[in-house]
């Protein structure tokens, strides 16, 4: 704020007011106002929140002006003729005199509430538990209650039926006051337009879809309406807003890389409900059904509660000491016999920075090998590598809030309304607000409906597609010449090679019309600020890293780097996949991205950890699997990762697991991977531990334990500390604050990070010594100095070259909104009521040719294996293309995905598999989708 607000008790006019700024008067006393601000905001800011009662206003919604309870008197001269104005949507006029509580205004408010109460069931207002019924609060504030109603009994809506049809959402519209906050939240926050109003006047009624129920509507269960509702007319099964909690603790969501802050209500030591804090910078009062509702996995009966040691093929419960002794003995023996490189670790992007740091430290400093990797390998390793090559650092260049400043979005290989729902919703809002949208995706995703251009390319042709865009940008003369000249290198060669490309040929390869590509290219290049987002549709390809480099080229050639509203912004998959890489969970770089084979950094790490370290680059995950089968790798330690269900070519992964002498798995549940373990260590969930997660915009945020660890479990970090100690390395007990102190001394961009200094909204790295975060990277120069242009030529995937004769379809995979990755957590919540199986999408023409109709069970086969799953005929995919998800272990879709990898980063090519389909032969053999773990 520009000035120090007065308090109501200041009596001398204009004291504490900056006379050079605009002034208005509240009850005769002068205050400065911000030009354009509403009277409501002005009064609340000047006199304190809640100075003015209101029912339709909400922190994350536009002013609406329906309840009129916030009306105040406004005069143009002191004690002059006043007009009643709704303060929420009336801007402050300079030198106006505002009387927030004049007698007639007080009467007005009381009389309005009297009218409202005539249509509000008396028994339900008193039903209120903790003052969350805002009507009750406001009624009290203005001095009105049911007993004071003077009107004779008339029409009312007390008989509206309740809606309890949905897995989460609930409605009791007899207590609806028609403030439309829910409708506006559905529109302005989520952008789903599931809620509207039926009828008009007094008979106006909130409706879902075509006047049906939540369950029958297109509701995505984001809960924004429930959080917005002032009276509990719309709520959820947890009664999230009204439930009385012992305490409310802020933490960070464990699901995707958006990093939503959550306010967790705890009652009797258990999680009662979750809401989204309005002041959270990463999610601004919004979250999705995973963050808000899918938390009941945490105390699910299936949780592991004791260490397990496999004896003669059967797991037996063991004490922690027994488990640690067993592991330490075995590890020592393997290291002694086969050397430390016979051991490897896979860290977890679901765990905290501190835990990831400890995991790589354990593998490097205690075991003595660089065989450490994490699931970034199978998702965004090409992003990290590609952006490092082009810019010098592999992280998102900008912040999500930059969406408010952008004019054009190009979304490549990402489906954020499912995968990153809050960012997806923000992108949708930005586009509905007028920004252009270019979608590059083989499938018609939700956002492609809103797009100005949808380049529906054939899977596996990203490089060709980006080359088309780059070609037209150069050819049409819309290159940002000065940016290219001042900030980049390698352009001339690049330009010549791009210009030499044959657009007809590339159009044939991608299946995208040349003019469409040209117009999309011009749209991106000529926008004032254009912002790029990409996901796994870019990275999980044999040319994944090259595609990322071309994306970087696209941003540089148009000068869309280094300021607000632009940039290259990978949508990171897991909550902490950014952090896992930052902490050094990769075989070539240690904590802070310093090369392990560089003499200086090797020395620095050795000194810091106080142990001799390997200076040889270790194994990547796929290499670990190969090494296991060749018996070079004897022991694998996996922290929170289900490689059997999620890595490609399940059959081969299982063989690798079986070949190991020792497999240790830290897990919440008995996953398909844990089944193959020799020792399973029961870990605590994110709700039970503290630490930090780093979201996709480099924001390091505090995760706070909200409940005690489930009995029998330990935080992953503590488990690693225990084993480090057991194996002779002195590491203090797991504690987020202490760990951050250690990390900040070795990771350069964490230099200024402290637990307390992170505060509620976290800091975006690099965080300098004075605790300042960084919202935008590469503002003056690139991390590597000049941005480097790379030309890449498109190559057909080996997978198709080898297999397309026999398997003529192309299968590509993705995610659904309701489930997170392999669904270990979400399948154990009511999300599985909403979506209970993986479905194969096929084009109706293909369905006809194969004799398949929606609902049929089809056999999907590839060179690697086959699975049965139900089909849906849809034009979301083009003919010849198949699409499915891999959330359900009942199907194990990765049985059919292949062995191809990104040539640079070894990220598996999940997105292109040569496949075939036919009607399944034995329909009755397997019950698909019969998941019964709903809590």
């Amino acid at each position: 704020m520009m000035f120090k607000p007065n308090t109501a008790s200041d009596s001398i006019e204009k004291e504490g007011v900056d006379v050079d700024k605009k002034i208005a008067y509240i009850d005769g006393q002068a205050f400065n106002f911000v030009p354009g601000e509403s009277i409501l905001s002005f009064i609340n800011r000047s006199l304190g929140d809640d100075s003015i009662p209101s029912l339709c206003d909400a922190p994350n919604l536009k002013p609406y002006g329906s309840c009129r309870v916030c009306s105040v008197d406004v005069a143009l001269e002191e004690n002059g003729n006043a007009r009643a104005q709704a303060s929420c949507h009336t801007p402050v006029l300079e030198n106006s005199y505002i009387y927030p509580h004049s007698d007639r205004i007080k009467t007005l408010r009381k009389n309005i509430i009297e009218l409202v109460l005539t249509d509000y069931p008396e028994e339900k207002i008193n039903d209120n538990k903790n003052g969350t019924n805002e009507l009750q609060v406001v009624a009290k504030q203005v001095g009105m209650e049911h007993s004071m109603i003077r009107y004779p009994e008339g029409k009312n809506h007390f008989d509206f039926l309740k809606d309890d049809s949905h897995a989460y959402m609930r409605a009791d519209l007899s207590t609806c006051i028609n403030c439309y906050r829910c409708v506006r939240a559905c529109d302005e926050v989520q952008g789903q337009h599931v809620l509207s109003v039926e009828g008009r006047g007094f008979d106006s009624k909130i409706v879902m879809g075509l006047g049906s129920t939540f369950a029958d509507s297109d509701c995505v269960s984001c809960g924004a309406c429930s959080q917005a509702c002032p009276t509990g007319a719309i709520t959820d099964i947890f009664d999230s807003k009204a439930v009385v909690a012992d305490e409310e603790i802020r933490t960070v969501c464990t699901y995707c890389g958006v990093g939503c802050n959550l306010s967790v209500k705890v009652k009797d030591g258990a999680v009662a409900a979750i809401t989204a804090p309005y002041e959270a910078e990463s999610n601004e009062g919004h979250t999705c059904l995973k963050g808000r509702y899918a938390f009941k996995f945490y105390d699910h009966a299936d949780r592991l509660r004791s260490p397990l040691i496999k004896v003669d093929g059967v797991f037996q419960e063991a004490s922690w000491d027994e488990a640690y002794d067993f592991i330490a003995k075995k590890l020592h023996s393997i290291i002694d016999t086969n050397g430390p490189d016979a051991v490897a670790g896979i860290s977890s992007s679901r765990c905290t920075n501190e835990e990831n740091y400890l995991m790589q430290k354990f593998i490097r400093a205690v075991v003595g090998t660089n065989n450490i990797d994490c699931c970034a390998r199978v998702c965004h390793s090409p992003t990290a590598l590609g952006m490092q090559r082009s810019f010098g650092t592999g992280a998102a260049t900008n912040s999500i809030k930059d969406l408010k400043k952008t004019d054009c979005i190009i979304l490549i290989g990402a489906n954020p309304t499912s995968g990153h729902p809050v960012t997806g919703a923000k992108i949708k809002q930005t586009v509905m607000g007028g920004a252009k949208l270019i979608v590059v995706d083989p499938r018609k995703i939700e956002l492609s409906k809103y797009a100005d251009f949808h380049l529906q390319l054939r899977p596996g042709t990203n490089v060709a597609m980006l080359n088309m865009l780059l070609h037209y940008i150069i050819k049409e003369g819309v290159v940002d010449e000065s940016f290219v000249a001042d900030r980049t290198e390698g352009f001339d060669d690049f330009k010549n090679m791009i210009l030499a490309l044959d657009m007809d040929k590339l159009s044939g390869i991608t299946g995208v019309d040349k003019d469409l590509a040209r117009n999309a290219a011009l749209c991106y290049a000529t926008a004032k600020n254009a912002m790029e987002f990409h996901g796994l549709g870019v990275t999980e390809h044999s040319q994944g890293t090259f595609t990322v480099q071309l994306i970087a080229d696209l941003a540089m050639i148009t000068g869309n780097i280094g300021r607000e509203g632009v940039g290259v912004n990978p949508l990171r998959g897991q909550n902490n996949v950014q952090g896992a890489a930052d902490m050094g969970c990769q075989p070539h770089q240690g904590a802070g991205y310093m090369m392990v084979d560089n003499a200086d950094s090797h020395k620095q790490y050795e000194e810091f950890y106080g142990r001799p370290l390997s200076n040889e680059i270790g194994l990547k995950i796929p290499e670990m699997f190969d090494a296991a089968q060749s018996k070079d790798l004897k022991a694998l330690w996996i922290m929170g990762e289900d490689v059997v269900q999620t890595d490609p070519n399940t059959t081969e992964v299982i063989k690798s697991m079986e070949a190991l002498d020792l497999l240790v798995v830290q897990e919440l549940f008995m996953t398909p991977t844990a089944e193959y373990a020799d020792v399973v260590l029961p870990a605590s969930s994110f709700l039970e531990k503290s630490g930090t997660f780093t979201n996709g915009e480099r924001r390091i945020q505090r995760v706070n334990a909200v409940v005690e660890p489930l009995e029998g479990t330990k935080p992953d970090g503590q488990i690693i500390v225990d084993i480090m100690n057991r194996m002779g390395y002195d590491q203090p007990a797991y504690d987020a604050d202490t760990m951050l102190q250690e990390i900040s001394q070795i990771v350069p961009f964490f230099a200024g990070v402290t637990w307390d200094g992170l505060t509620d909204n976290g800091k975006q790295w690099p965080v300098t010594g004075d605790n300042e975060g960084t919202e935008i990277l590469h503002t003056e120069e690139f991390k590597r100095g000049k941005g480097l242009f790379h030309f890449q030529e498109w190559r057909e995937s080996n997978e198709l070259i080898k297999n397309k004769e026999q398997f003529p379809f192309i299968l590509t995979t993705g995610r659904e909104l309701e489930h997170y990755n392999c669904g270990t957590m979400t399948r154990r919540t009511n999300n599985s009521i909403i979506l209970s199986e993986d479905t194969l999408l096929i084009h109706p023409e293909d369905g006809k040719a194969k004799g398949l109709v929606t609902g049929d069970l089809a056999c999907l086969s590839s060179a690697y294996g086959k699975v049965d799953l139900h089909v849906e005929l849809t034009d979301q995919v083009k003919p010849g293309i198949l699409y499915t998800t891999f959330h359900f272990p009942e199907v194990l879709v990765n049985l059919v995905t292949g062995n191809e990898h990104c040539s640079e980063s070894m990220c598996p090519e999940y997105k292109v598999v040569a496949a075939d389909i036919r009607k399944a032969k034995k329909v009755e053999e397997r019950g698909i989708g019969e998941v019964t773990e709903a809590s």
Binding site: V116, G199, G201, S217
Partner: protein, 554 residues
């Protein structure tokens, strides 16, 4: 109501229009069915709920309307004329009860006994012609006649039409010169909006002109919903080119190439005549791209209403064009800054726009010579069937109101105790106050009334004032958009109290009525809830004796 929905509608543009698609479905099938709603929701990206929500908002779209075969006017003039009870009896001989809908109002206030049947309006119906209308489909019986007159020698709105070529000479002249000159002319005229609020036209045009958006819109508010008023209908049907030229010149001034006429569905003849007039212009290349080689483009779009009085409120009207529920928006932003599809938009009433050709031809000063200092020009007045000479009169502002009533209107056919001027939100003028008023904004306002759109509905001596007040509350309750609490709940409670007092042993708490009126007047978002109390308060003041039996502690 929703910026997002406005923008999404804007992306589709004017040619594809959700609202008109819904109306088309309703005309063909009574109401759009669920499958069609889903299709349209998908096509326009608004979601099923919004497609359904919009449908349910309008009288002629909602599913309750399906199966209605004939609509009876429920406007104030037909009510006080007591023609509708007999009419209903006649209709019931031909239709089932559930096949008869109500419609408010058909603008046949000079004849009453009005219905809409098969898309045509009829009035002055009695037992002699009802059968011909229903069974013989004699559409010609729908034609109506009314007096047209003026007290100015050089009429602005009621002059004889000289033919397109002659009439549009001035238009060709204007677009050769600068938009600034044309705006200056408007400003010089001092013309104020004729829709009721009296806002200076030049101010709106100037504000929209300042905006830098490439796309701007001119919208003609032809949703003449005030029962008792049919002057806009007169202009559209008898002077369509005055309206169209007014829009084109407005577009020329602000830099807009698109004009939308939002014409209420209750005026099917107006829609047809305007459509025809636009075709005449197109045939003469006076409309389209690069008109007369001036570089000025202008195209019209007619949007038909679907039965919602609130659409006369300009922000509701804009939402309606966008296919949204026609719910009143907050201001700011004003339409001149962010209106249709969130683009700068000038919304003007039919009569305001129809004055523009005269102002251009004769200059602002010539216009300003008419009327008073603050209310320049003339005003069309609509007189109902209680007058000996019902009709439309163009009256110079400042003319004694008694001249309008007793000279032009020829006095009343039967004893009248009050005239309700300016529609349901206007003031109720007791007959003995007529002599105190002159026809202009200021005189009515300073006497506690409202000139508004200057429709005049008579309340005869034998019509109980309490019944008329209930009608006003009921009208407001029926037509409230449902957004603001004071109007949507208040109107219902007001009507209920009066109904109870009329039928039961119940007296209305006068303090409560006063509180309700104050709550609606100062608390409502728009002029519907905010305007209703004026007439009620007039009645409570001037007809206290007649009404006191219904109130306590009077």
């Amino acid at each position: 109501m929703s910026d997002n929905l406005s923008n999404l509608a804007g992306k589709k543009g004017l040619e594809n229009n959700l609202f008109q698609d819904l109306l088309k479905e309703a005309k063909e099938h009574g109401t759009p069915d669920d499958e069609k709603l889903k299709d349209l929701a998908e096509q326009y990206l608004v979601g099923d709920a919004n497609a359904y929500g919009a449908t349910s908002f309008y009288d002629f779209l909602k599913k309750e309307n399906k199966g209605k075969k004939v609509y009876m006017c429920s406007g104030s003039a037909c009510l006080t004329a007591r023609t509708q009870d007999d009419l209903k009896k006649g209709l019931l001989e031909n239709f089932k009860e559930e096949e008869i809908g109500k419609i408010c109002c058909l603008g046949r206030c000079h004849e009453n006994a009005a219905i809409n049947y098969n898309g045509t309006n009829y009035s002055g119906i009695d037992s002699s012609n009802l059968s011909d209308i229903i069974h013989e489909d004699k559409r010609e019986l729908g034609a109506d006649t009314y007096n047209v007159g003026t007290n100015v020698s050089d009429p602005i709105l009621t002059a004889e039409f000289p033919g397109i070529d002659a009439y549009y000479e001035i238009f060709k002249e204007v677009i050769k010169n600068s938009p600034e000159d044309a705006l200056q002319c408007i400003n010089d005229s001092g013309i104020r909006g004729r829709g009721g609020a009296g806002f200076p036209m030049g101010f709106k045009l100037g504000a929209a002109k300042k905006e830098t958006d490439e796309q701007k819109y001119i919208v003609c508010n032809a949703d003449e919903g005030d029962p008792g008023a049919y002057s806009d209908r007169y202009l559209m049907e008898k002077q369509p080119h005055a309206v169209l030229m007014g829009m084109m010149i407005s577009g020329f001034i602000i830099g807009s190439n698109r004009g939308v006429l939002y014409i209420r569905a209750e005026y099917p003849e107006s829609v047809a005549i305007i459509k025809n007039a636009i075709e005449e212009l197109e045939a003469k290349d006076l409309n389209g791209e690069n008109i007369e080689g001036s570089g000025f483009d202008f195209r019209f779009k007619i949007v038909e209403g679907a039965g919602a009085y609130i659409c006369g409120e300009e922000t509701s009207l804009l939402s309606s064009i966008e296919g949204q529920r026609a719910v009143v928006r907050v201001r700011p932003p004003y339409p001149a800054q962010r209106g249709l599809f969130n683009k700068p938009t000038v919304v003007n009433n039919v009569e305001t726009l129809a004055c523009v050709p005269y102002i251009m031809k004769n200059g602002g000063a010539a216009y300003k010579k008419f009327g008073t200092e603050k209310s320049s020009g003339t005003k069309l007045v609509s007189l109902d069937s209680f007058f000996n000479k019902p009709g439309i009169y163009e009256i110079e502002m400042g003319t004694p109101f008694k001249d309008v009533v007793y000279e032009f209107g020829g006095g009343f056919k039967k004893p009248v105790k009050a005239v309700h001027v300016g529609g349901p939100l206007g003031g109720i003028v007791p007959t003995d106050k007529i002599n105190d008023l002159t026809l202009d904004f200021e005189s009515f306002a300073s006497n506690g009334f409202l000139m508004g759109h200057a429709g005049v509905v008579s309340v005869p001596d034998d019509f109980p004032m309490i019944e008329y007040l209930e009608h006003l509350f009921e009208f407001t309750a029926d037509e409230s958009c449902g957004k603001c609490f004071p109007c949507s709940i208040g109107a219902v409670r007001g009507q209920e109290m009066i109904a109870k007092a009329r039928t039961e042993d119940y007296k209305i708490d006068k303090k409560l009525m006063d509180d309700l009126l104050e709550t609606m007047e100062i608390g409502s978002l728009c002029a519907l809830g905010g305007g209703l109390p004026l007439g009620i308060k007039n009645a409570l003041q001037y007809f206290r004796d007649e009404l006191k039996a219904y109130f306590t502690n009077n």
